[in-house]
């Protein structure tokens, strides 16, 4: 029997065979099972026919609303590694099967899905573990000033006596269903340690940025991503006796969860590799009154030297509806590097580019953030909305580009100008 689906836009789709478990299972394996497995980041497993069938309406709904699988960037930007977007034909096929009642087919005992194995770490990796256990609260805690933003930072001595080149990081989560993203920074100046000592609790209650150094400069992990491996010939520099500073973003799940994660640093001996630097295009100050639906904040930053970009890290609060990063090349061509039409900080993570992107000297990075501080924005953290006014040197809304200059002088110029402008950037805003 054929089922005619109505697409979300109200257009009639071609008739789609709902199929059976044998046709649905590969789609679930490809798009869902990496997280919806035992020990995964999702709240329940989707590995057996029974797992799926008893949630079929819910799954069909979140597929239709494109809430799942979670993948923030649209396909307007540059190609990304591990693209988690779901092709429309896969989505339509799975919805058709679910809405037909998730028929099992002729199989007496439908075989469960075997989730893909988690990425492994090199045997010579350096393992670093949170020095103290932490308890993620059952629900967001309130502070005197404001609701806590569900972020906590931990400082871990790496114990390396000599400087090292690190090509990748791995993550061994202890509470994967609670933690949604972690960004990392190497700190050889004791700045994180100082903050940690000031706070008597395990870790400290601040974001992981250290002055003008942005958390995430040394990578990150997140939902569906337990390692970040740089392309060949790129590395992060780990100074001697450095600390690994981990900015952990979590979402309380209704019960307390113990946390004591470990990280793996993958050393490389490649003497010709280039050091990763972070360049920021960001809005430092945001002032958006309650009720404003389309507050546009932008930044432009012109590269003083060529840059080879390997990864992009977006970030913002959830009052932000959408964000876009564009490159205006010296010849005038504008290229979209990353387009996020529906921002959700819960699924924030680093995005590695499929190929190294060369941006010539004189390229202008243009970032654009659309803020909706009204009740129309269902992700608005406050109901009713409140005036919000925030300032952050490393960006209240930002794109961090990880990459390298084409030579040492170029890299130094990129870092210097990026950091120098942090203190001087203002929010250029305009009405639509």
């Amino acid at each position: 029997m054929k089922l005619v689906l109505l697409l979300l836009l109200g257009q009639a789709s071609p008739a789609i065979e709902p199929g059976t478990w044998s046709t649905a299972a590969p789609l679930i394996q490809q798009h869902c099972a990496a997280c919806h497995r035992e020990g995964g980041s999702a709240p329940f497993t989707l590995l057996t026919h029974a797992d799926v069938k008893r949630r079929r309406s819910f799954i069909a709904t979140v597929l239709k609303q494109e809430l799942m699988p979670p993948w923030l960037p649209s396909n307007k930007g540059v190609a990304l590694q591990g693209d988690g977007s779901m092709p429309p034909e896969d989505r339509a096929s799975l919805i058709a099967w679910l809405e037909a009642g998730a028929p099992v087919g002729s199989e007496q005992n439908p075989a469960p899905i075997k989730p893909m194995a988690s990425a492994t770490f090199p045997t010579d990796s350096i393992k670093v573990t949170m020095t103290e256990p932490f308890t993620i609260p059952a629900e967001t805690i309130e502070t005197e000033q404001r609701y806590h933003e569900d972020t906590w930072t931990f400082v871990m001595p790496v114990g390396n006596e000599t400087p090292l080149r690190i090509r990748g990081i791995g993550w061994e989560p202890t509470a994967p269903e609670t933690v949604h993203t972690i960004t990392l920074l190497f700190d050889a100046e004791g700045r994180g340690r100082q903050r940690d000592e000031y706070d008597p609790r395990p870790g400290y209650e601040m974001s992981g940025d250290l002055n003008r150094d942005i958390s995430g400069t040394n990578g990150g992990v997140g939902i569906g991503m337990n390692r970040m491996l740089l392309p060949e010939s790129f590395h992060w520099s780990l100074p001697a006796d450095a600390d690994l500073v981990a900015d952990v973003r979590y979402r309380p799940i209704g019960r307390e969860m113990p946390l004591q994660d470990s990280f793996h640093l993958f050393p490389t001996e490649d003497e010709d590799s280039r050091e990763i630097i972070a360049v920021l295009t960001a809005v430092n100050r945001l002032k958006v009154p309650a009720g404003e639906t389309q507050h546009i904040a932008e930044d432009r930053f012109t590269l003083p030297a060529a840059m080879d970009v390997v990864a992009i890290l977006p970030r913002s609060r959830n009052e932000c509806r959408s964000m876009q990063l564009m490159a205006i090349l010296p010849d005038g061509e504008t290229r979209v590097l990353m387009d996020i039409p529906g921002w959700d900080g819960h699924f924030r993570r680093p995005f590695l580019l499929e190929e190294v992107l060369h941006l010539p000297e004189g390229t202008t990075l243009h970032s654009r953030f659309v803020i909706d501080n009204s009740t129309e924005n269902p992700r608005n953290p406050f109901d009713p909305p409140e005036d919000f006014r925030i300032g952050k040197r490393t960006g209240a809304a930002a794109f961090t580009l990880l990459g390298a200059g084409t030579d040492e002088e170029g890299s130094a110029a990129l870092v210097e100008l990026s950091q120098w402008t942090m203190d001087r950037r203002g929010s250029r805003t305009r009405k639509p």
Partner: protein
């Protein structure tokens, strides 16, 4: 220590239409794993009964566990009864017990194996609450139904923290004899599958 119960549908529903708002209810009795019996749809004039449909593995329902326990405590203080009703037919007693313990839920936990309560109230998602205010022996009005709070703006859109506590406000209103300001709100959560 949480009281964890499993529902056994002892008495079948009395045939006949039920009118929400003021109705004569069929008898429902449910037995827990220890043998204790509960009759959530029986009561006397002025009684307050709160039912919350839930699921052990619905992240939206679970995220509200601390709020549900607060609402439970509020209900007890007002002399009312509070039930957590798991809508998953095949849920095992042991799993419900473990869940209540992990999430520090102290109210009676029922498993609606036959979906008798689900169909009686036409519950659609978890979590979804029904606050009953008894107007006479066996008759009640639904003083409030819908979402627990405003933690979720919709499915997939979770706020940092709930600022409106609809269920607790409804409990307070019923306790003081006031009308609940908004008696019905859209619940957001995981769908209850009616068919097996």
């Amino acid at each position: 220590m949480p009281v964890s119960l499993t529902v056994r549908f002892l008495l079948s529903l009395v045939a006949g239409a039920l009118l929400v708002g003021c109705s004569t209810e069929p008898e429902h009795r449910y037995v827990d794993v220890t043998g204790a019996t509960h009759s959530p749809l029986e009561g006397s004039t002025g009684d307050l009964v709160v039912l919350v449909f839930s699921s052990t593995d619905c992240p939206i329902a679970n995220a509200m566990a601390p709020e549900l326990e607060r609402a439970h405590q509020d209900t007890i203080k007002q002399g009312g009864r509070f039930y957590l009703v798991h809508a998953r037919r095949d849920l095992a007693d042991a799993e419900a017990v473990k869940h209540a313990s992990e999430f520090s839920l102290g109210m009676p936990v029922l498993i609606d194996h036959e979906h008798a309560l689900v169909e009686h109230f036409d519950a659609t998602v978890t979590p979804e609450t029904f606050v009953l205010h008894f107007t006479g022996p066996g008759t009640y009005e639904i003083a409030y139904t819908g979402s627990i709070n405003n933690l979720y703006g919709s499915v997939g859109n979770r706020r940092t923290k709930a600022s409106e506590h609809y269920l607790r406000d409804a409990i307070a209103s019923v306790s003081t004899g006031d009308e609940v300001e908004v008696a019905k709100r859209q619940p957001y959560g995981c769908f209850i599958e009616r068919e097996q």
